[in-house]
Symmetry: C2
Subunit: 295 residues, 2 copies
């Protein structure tokens, strides 16, 4: 079978054996921001057309390819949701006179203002069996960090924090970036930012302190980005430190997961880093019961 993790900025395809093992993989900078409307089919053709010619297994895609700006909008499935709910709502699209399938995103409406994910649900399905029964808290750090409550193999609900994007825009476009210069990650400055996040005043006030601590040279210019990162991640963690979960499972890119794991340890919680290849496993689990090409 062919499974594809197709996001905003990248395209990652995997040709899988019956048992889910990866036989071949392709990666290209063909995210949905790079491609315009009618070009999705052509991009798929160029990347995996030769696989599909030889393989009669299902083709399944997840990520922003199912968004309004993607190939076709796959409406969000409501939480709580398990893999079965998602499988029942896979969205078919026509390609090469056959069907291929898009994984819908999830919406959490349990807290009033809706929260959404698209792509992360597939990564989560890749770790549900590892997590097992009971209640678990999973953190998927990133541009938009997700904090997910998993209960007995189902996604009960989640919350998104714009931590990564706020960090990037403040560094690039605000007055805070002007005092920063390039430097190695500074773990001590990151820790000072986390401590600051636990103090009074609120985030909008703490942000100004990034400037003043730079102005008075209390934090070197090369460490200000680490201080800002610790401040923002500290604010994120403080909101998710509800005390019900002793262990936090971290599922993220190899650069980011250890940073969050250390931040969790600093705030007195145990972090377990999960397999970052979870998206492929999740796609396999969702795809394995889909019909073959000629069925």
């Amino acid at each position: 079978m062919i499974v594809i993790d197709w996001g905003t900025s990248s395209f990652r395809a995997y040709r899988l054996a019956e048992d889910g093992s990866v036989r071949e993989r392709r990666e290209a900078p063909l995210g949905i921001l790079q491609l315009k409307g009618p070009h999705f089919a052509g991009a798929l053709e160029s990347q995996v057309g030769h696989w599909e010619a030889e393989d009669d297994g299902p083709v399944l895609m997840s990520g922003m390819i199912g968004s309004r700006q993607g190939w076709a909008e796959a409406p969000y499935v409501e939480c709580p949701a398990g893999a079965d709910d998602i499988v029942g709502r896979l969205m078919p699209v026509e390609w090469r006179k056959r069907k291929l399938w898009i994984v819908p995103g999830l919406v959490d409406r349990t807290r009033g203002v809706p929260d959404v994910m698209r792509g992360e649900e597939t990564q989560l399905f890749g770790v549900l069996e590892t997590l097992g029964q009971g209640s678990h808290l999973v953190c998927l750090p990133g541009t938009h960090s997700k904090w997910v409550r998993v209960e007995n193999g189902r996604i009960a609900g989640f919350r998104t924090h714009m931590t990564g994007e706020v960090f990037a825009v403040l560094k690039q476009h605000s007055i805070l970036g002007r005092l920063m210069s390039i430097g190695a990650d500074d773990d001590a400055a990151f820790g000072e930012g986390m401590v600051r996040a636990s103090e009074a005043g609120g985030l909008l006030h703490h942000l100004f302190g990034v400037r003043t601590r730079g102005l008075f040279e209390e934090v070197p210019a090369t460490s200000l980005a680490s201080y800002l990162s610790g401040l923002l991640i500290g604010h994120e963690l403080a909101q998710e430190a509800d005390g019900t979960a002793r262990v936090v499972h971290v599922l993220g890119a190899p650069q980011l997961a250890p940073l969050y794991a250390r931040a969790l340890a600093r705030s007195g919680r145990e972090a377990v880093i999960l397999d970052a290849d979870a998206a492929v496993i999740g796609l396999y689990r969702l795809a394995r019961n889909l019909p073959r090409k000629n069925v």
Copy 2:
């Protein structure tokens, strides 16, 4: 006398009579970001040289002209500070073979991480007499909002919130801006943002809700900027709602002061809008005891 409010993006000069009344005024887009190092004297020459030739009164400047990027760095005076402390630390610079004076900024070190202002202290000196004795809370909304505790005619301490700048960079450079379209201010959406700010989840989470409420068309695209504004100002006000001040005095630009006054009213507090020309009055009060040109 000649007094000048010289900030990051604008230059405003006033020729004052002995009693502080404004005889003439000039305004130019000659902020310190527009001018480079050695050009301050020339800019002053071109703008007010003819006034100075006829007038032997003192020349006093305040604002970012006293910063590291300005004409000369006037070191910060520590809080608590009154007008006398500032007058004692006015920074002289040479111009046309005479002295002119720069108002130093203030630093508040009473809460650990330092906080600073430069220019706002002069506006505050313009309203101290109006406020009178006792304890007062003054809010100066803006790119970097200041919340100032005034006690018996002195500036006891203050806190800055980056509300205005965070609003601008998120609107222009983050994913939140992509769903927004231009529309009139929407007071109802602003109010919904303020309510959201009082709920659980924290600012980084609430920001993502600007996107989801737009995605699900719960808030129209033309009102999303008002919703974001209410959310950010709501978070700012929540931090300053310490309950010790029943009345908040608002000192700001004519567009912004009424917005904050309405936000304060929504959060159950009384707002009094102060004279926005406070900078000129403050400059007059600081300048009136300075020596004349030939003394």
